[in-house]
Every structure is written in C-alpha cells, then in structure tokens.
C-alpha cells in the first residue's frame, strides 16, 4: 500500500463527513502514514499462504434460528429521534439516493 498523503486524508474526511481544518489534515496525514507503515509489517511477516483474517477468534457459523423475538413499539423506536411525524423518523430531504 502506498503511503497516506494529505489528499487521501482530505478524501477520507469528506467520505466520512468529518470536517477537518488544514492543521488537522497535516497532522493526521503524518500520523496515519505512521500507522499504515506499522500495519504493513504484518504483510511482511505473513506470506501468501496465510489467509487474511477479520476476527481475532477463529469462530465460524455463529447462527440464530429463524424465530421471532422482541420488537419495539413505534413510540419506543422514535424515542431517540430528533424529529418524527406519522410514526416515522423525520429527516431533511436529501437529493438522490445512495
């Protein structure tokens, strides 16, 4: 992986909807570059024969039977909503769908 530069950080910040000042971008670019460099050493240690892992514990197939459990009432669902109408969450109109 190439080193992280300032533009990468600005791009990620935009994608993550995080507002960052010029100073913050400079600082994070430096810090993230060090982190990425450190993580890279893992790839050096693990050869192609070592499969990528996404979980520290080697568990597989943690399943639930298809049985209905508890639900909220609409009132409970909306109890933390900043705004609501007609038993639904009310949000600003956002143009176009993801």
């Amino acid at each position: 992986m190439a080193a992280i530069n300032r533009e990468d950080v600005a791009h990620l910040a935009r994608l993550a909807h995080i507002e960052m000042s010029a100073q913050e971008l400079d600082r994070m670019a430096g810090e993230l570059a060090v982190i990425v460099e450190s993580v890279k050493s893992v790839s050096e240690a693990a050869g192609d024969d070592v499969p990528a892992t996404s979980h520290p514990i080697p568990l597989t197939n943690v399943f639930r039977e298809d049985v209905v459990g508890h639900t909220f009432t609409a009132e409970q669902s909306l109890s933390g909503a900043p705004d609501a109408a007609e038993n639904r969450f009310k949000v600003p109109a956002i143009l176009d769908e993801a």
Binding site: T60, N61, V68, A74, A85, E86, F89, I94
Partner: protein, 501 residues
C-alpha cells in the same frame, strides 16, 4: 428535459447492446438477516424493529441460519459454486435509509459465484446468461418524500423513514456482461428477470412479488458499434420493478444511448431513474468518488463456512427447476407449443396439473381452464386459481359431458352454480332438472313445430342448402331450453326432411 432517442431499428442497425443485471431478491424468512425482528410487509411503521435494526450503539448482529440456507439454495438453483467460506462486509455510506451509516453486505467473498441460467425466449431459442455472483446483504429502510412535487425526491421538503424493511434479508444476483442478444435484448431482459423470479418463488425462499419490491432489478445497458470488442460506457437504470418495465427500460436506454453516440458525444456513466408513466429514464447522479464505499470486513460477524455436506443436504431439497418441469408437463400432456404457452401465460399450469392428477384427461383439463375458467377470472379481475374451482369439480363435469348426461352449455351453467356455492355438480343438475333430452319423442314434436314455424328454411334444406339447418336446430334447442343433444336434433331434422348428406 427529454432526451433524444433513435428508433429501435436504427439503433440496432448501428450498434450492438451489452446488458447486465443486478436483481435483488427479498427472502421470506420469518425474521430479519441479523435480528429477530419479524420480516413482515405492510405493518405499522417502525414496529417490526428492535435495537439491531435501528443501529443503536453496542448492539450485536447475529446471522439468521435460514437466510444462509435460502441463499445457498438460490446459488445452487443458479448453477453457482458455493463458497467454502465467505464473510460479510460493511458498505459505508450516509443516507437516512440506513440508521447505522453502513449496509451489511458481502464484498469480495460472495456466498455463491460462477453460475448460469438458461433463458428460453418466446420462439423457443435458449440464451445462456452467465451469473457472476449472488451475495447476501440486508435491505434498507423505506423513505417517503413529503411536500414538493408529489412523492418525487426533487423538491421534497422532508422525508419520513420507516425502518420496518431495514435488515430484511436480500440476495443480490449479479450477471456477467451479456453479449450477443442483439435486437432481442429487451425480450431477454424481461425473460431473465422473469426466470429469476420464478426460480426463487419455486424454491419457496421469496414471496417474489415484484409489486411489493420482493424482486427488484437494476438494468445496465451499453452499446458498441457492430464488430467492436470493447464495451461502451454503461448506464445503470435503477428500480425497474415490473417485468414489462424491464423490457421497456432496456429498449429505451438502447435508443437513448444510440442517439448520444450518433451525436458524437460520449455516454455519461450514471444512474438513471425509470419512470413508468412516461416510459423514459432521467439522469440520476454521475458515478463519482461518493461511490467509494470503503468496504471492510464486518468485525461483528464471523465467517460463514458452508461444508460440502451441508451444501449437498440443501441441494437434495431443491424442487424440480421450473424450466424442466414445464418441458416435462408439456410432453406428458401432449399440448402443442402454442397451447402450452397459452396455458403458462394464463397462469393455470399448476391448476391443470392438479386437475389431471384428480383424474381428468389433459384435453378436458385444458378445455375447462382455458375455455371457461380463465375468462371468468378475467371478468372477476382475479387470478384463475383464486376462483376456488376444485379439480374434482372439473373431473365430475368432464365425466357428465362425456357420458352425454349434460351438454357443454349446461356444464358451463353448472360451473357458474358451483362457483355461486349452490353445491356439487350432481346436486345442481338434480335441483335444476338439467338433463340432455335423449328420448326422441319430445324432440320430434319440437322439430315439427320448428319446421312449421319456418317453412322457407325447411324448403331451403330440402333443396340441398343443408347449412340453413342451424335456424331449425336453434328453434328446437330453444323449445327444449337447451336440454336437447344438438347433434341428435340435426340427425332427426335431416331424417324428417329426407335429406341425406
């Protein structure tokens, strides 16, 4: 703004279409993909949810085993390989249809991959569509745009969100680029989505109702000049949610792309929205770095390992594929291609199968379902199967007609009475006194009366114009209230007039 389009014929003369489809299938599990909240359509907003579906802090998703099994079944039915091990991934984006700012999906490790589906077109030719992958994910909540221009997102004042659909298990089926369909591209598009819908319905893993969004299609279209190998730039038309719309949308996009290319401009790679009312698409948004979803493995879920034993167990439960079943039934029943296609299009294949299993001949079953029941269903605006005609009723009516106890006209009357809840065919015949008059005595009297009433017709028949006999037969049938055997009446009239044919 209306886009310029070329005629379909002109577009085809110049360009070769390449298609691709993403079909989302909602599974009909009792609960959601990662939570035990019920997967039910049409309930009060935000009541089929719990903390997992609302993405509250600290919750832990747990995978629904039945959803995994359904996904494997879909993969097998699409002739896919089933991954020995696969993972879920987070697809990160900000939009209020997901409360947690990511959709749990699969990225580089789909549960099923490398399959195909053979699609039969209307003239019987078979077109193979290669399946790239089928992966598992969760559905998003439902947004309703309020204010502004009636439900459209443009100009809305605000949106209301119902998370009942959030977390409903989905399988997304992605094709490889489909080349070589030529002018049959629109037909193939429709037939492909219809085949996928039929398969998931037949497997019993989805309710497969397109009008409810159980099966949703995004259609990719690009054009290239004839003879060129490299693909053109594609557009992706979203939410084409009926079979007819799939056909129309592909056709329209081919015409639109052709006009763009003809003008010398490049096609814009973008999302298009389909409008059923105008049968056109409009520009959504161009592909941009906002499409950088920063996928990464979902840390709250462990890998799914599908042992070969498990896969084979599931394979053993698969029903006969719809296309093979159709082939078998047509051969068993001895219907012509046209007859069989009509039966399929009328949606009475299952009903005819049951009627034959109950003891009717394939001819009798087809005559009743296609000749009588389909029309009645159409008049009542319901599916033929919903009229409540029992196979045993058809068998009984068929036997009564065959035995000559009643004629076809009476049988149709009896059917109406059965549907009106008046009892079994035998009871209705008894109650109404319906029976073919087989004793010649009363018939001869009626014939005499009919001939006397229309002497000019009688003369014509004597003079050799036998086709005029219909008027006399009609008079006799009327006099006997339709209870006479028309064939016998005809014989007796000719005998009486001394005409031999």
């Amino acid at each position: 703004m209306t886009d310029a389009i070329l005629s379909f014929e002109e577009a085809m003369a110049k360009y070769d279409p390449v298609l691709g489809f993403e079909v989302h299938v909602e599974l009909n599990t009792k609960t959601k993909m990662f939570s035990s909240a019920p997967n039910v359509f049409g309930d009060e907003p935000n009541t089929n949810v719990n903390e997992v579906d609302l993405g509250l802090p600290g919750v832990l998703p747990v995978v629904n085993k039945t959803a995994i099994e359904s996904s494997i079944k879909i993969g097998l039915a699409l002739n896919c390989k089933i991954a020995e091990t696969c993972r879920f991934a987070r697809k990160n984006y900000f939009y209020p249809d997901t409360p947690k700012n990511f959709q749990t999906s699969q990225y580089d490790e789909p549960i099923a991959y490398d399959g195909y589906l053979d699609i039969e077109l209307s003239d019987g030719t078979v077109f193979r569509v290669e399946i790239e992958r089928a992966h598992m994910e969760e559905d998003a909540g439902k947004l309703t745009h309020m204010g502004g221009s009636a439900g459209r997102i443009q100009g809305a004042d605000y949106s209301l969100v119902d998370y009942n659909r959030s977390g409903v298990p989905l399988v997304e089926i992605v094709t490889k680029p489909i080349e070589g369909a030529g002018s049959r591209a629109p037909e193939l598009a429709k037939a492909y989505v219809a085949a996928v819908r039929e398969i998931v319905k037949n497997l019993g893993v989805s309710d497969a109702k397109m009008e409810r969004g159980n099966v949703r299609c995004d259609a990719n279209v690009s054009l290239r000049p004839h003879g060129r190998e490299r693909f053109g730039i594609r557009s992706e038309t979203k939410n084409v949610n009926s079979l007819r719309a799939v056909e129309h949308a592909v056709r329209y996009e081919i015409q639109r792309h052709a006009a763009v290319l003809d003008s010398g401009e490049p096609v814009v790679q973008e999302t298009r929205h389909w409008h059923e009312d105008t049968r056109t698409t409009t520009s959504g948004r161009p592909k941009s770095d906002a499409d950088d979803y920063r996928y990464f493995p979902e840390p709250d879920l462990v890998p799914v390992v599908a042992s070969r034993e498990w896969v084979e167990e599931l394979r053993a439960t698969l029903p006969e594929p719809p296309a093979e079943r159709r082939k078998r039934l047509q051969a068993d029943w001895g219907y012509s291609d046209l007859e069989f296609r009509d039966v399929v299009n009328a949606g009475v294949m299952d009903e005819i199968e049951e009627t034959i299993a109950a003891g009717a001949s394939s001819t009798v079953a087809r005559k009743w379902w296609m000749g009588e029941i389909v029309g009645r269903a159409k008049a009542a605006d319901v599916d033929p199967g919903q009229l409540g005609v029992k196979p045993a009723t058809i068998v009984e009516l068929g036997k009564l007609v065959e035995a000559g106890s009643i004629n076809n006209k009476m049988a149709a009357e009896v059917l109406d009475a059965v549907l009106a809840g008046e009892g079994s065919p035998a009871e209705i015949i008894e109650k109404r006194g319906l029976a073919v008059v087989s004793d010649d005595g009363p018939l001869l009297e009626a014939i005499d009366a009919a001939l006397a009433a229309q002497p000019d017709v009688a003369d014509k028949i004597r003079g050799g114009k036998v086709q005029a006999i219909g008027a006399i037969v009609g008079g006799v049938m009327k006099a006997t209230r339709g209870q006479a055997d028309a064939g016998r009446v005809r014989e007796l009239i000719l005998e009486k007039l001394g005409v031999t044919v």
